[in-house]
Assembly symmetry: C2
Homo-oligomer: 114 residues x 2
DNA sequence: TATGCATATGCGATTTTTCATATATAATGA
DNA sequence: TCATTATATATGAAAAATCGCATATGCATA
């Protein structure tokens, strides 16, 4: 993972928040991210597709939902950068987490908690 | 330091390489960075000004040169992210370091080595 | 004055992002 | 089975942001 490509992935608000939320929650589907971010579904979907094509995320279809998680193959240092950002700036996604947890009808699946 | 602003700073090749070189060398002036990066002086200067206005770098004039270094006030986590990137992807700036060290007539000053 | 350096700016070009809309797929219920 | 609903994906085009180049300015010094 070229560091320039990695940091370009993080340099957009929708992508950065999505990555931090996924780092925190383990796995999230598009509709959950759409709700947590308060953004349009196509916008969220497009940015997730971009992160997947860079190799940062991988997806898994379960029923009608597609869940995104950090790709296991991403270099260790990039995971640590995300984790450190989350540790230091947790408040950055506080409001997004609140919206996520207030959301009703969240799809069920094996959850990985942070 | 808002993480989004920080990562936008890192999402440009000139800025990322400059920050990593400064992280490694402690302090560099514009002409040294211009040489190390092989970019035009106005381009380098413009990006350094941007990094300074974000609070990531601070400058110090000494004679005819302006030296840039990481601002002491930047949050610890951002310094650690830069250091971790450097540790993991040192080869990313190998060629820039070579050019820098081959450069003749480098301005003299108290050097801080990595 | 002349030189060497940093900085500032106007503008065109490129890239990125966003929006609107269309298509595809899966689940649900009649 | 078929229609409906809910989801993701794809795409074309507009809008916005960013970047790079050329050039001008300011400042210090020889």
């Amino acid at each position: 993972m070229n560091p320039l490509i990695f940091y370009k992935c993080l340099a957009d608000e929708t992508r950065l928040r999505s990555l931090l939320l996924i780092t925190c929650e383990g796995e999230l589907c598009v509709c959950e991210l759409t709700e947590a971010l308060g953004e349009s579904q196509p916008k969220v979907s497009r940015h997730l597709a971009q992160l997947r094509s860079c190799g940062l995320l991988e997806d898994r279809r379960q029923g009608q939902w597609v869940f995104y998680r950090l790709a296991p193959s991403v270099p260790d240092w990039t995971k640590k950068v995300l984790q450190r950002t989350l540790d230091a700036e947790r408040t950055f996604i506080d409001e997004n987490l609140r919206k996520l947890h207030r959301m009703g009808d969240r799809p069920e699946r094996a959850r990985i908690c942070c």
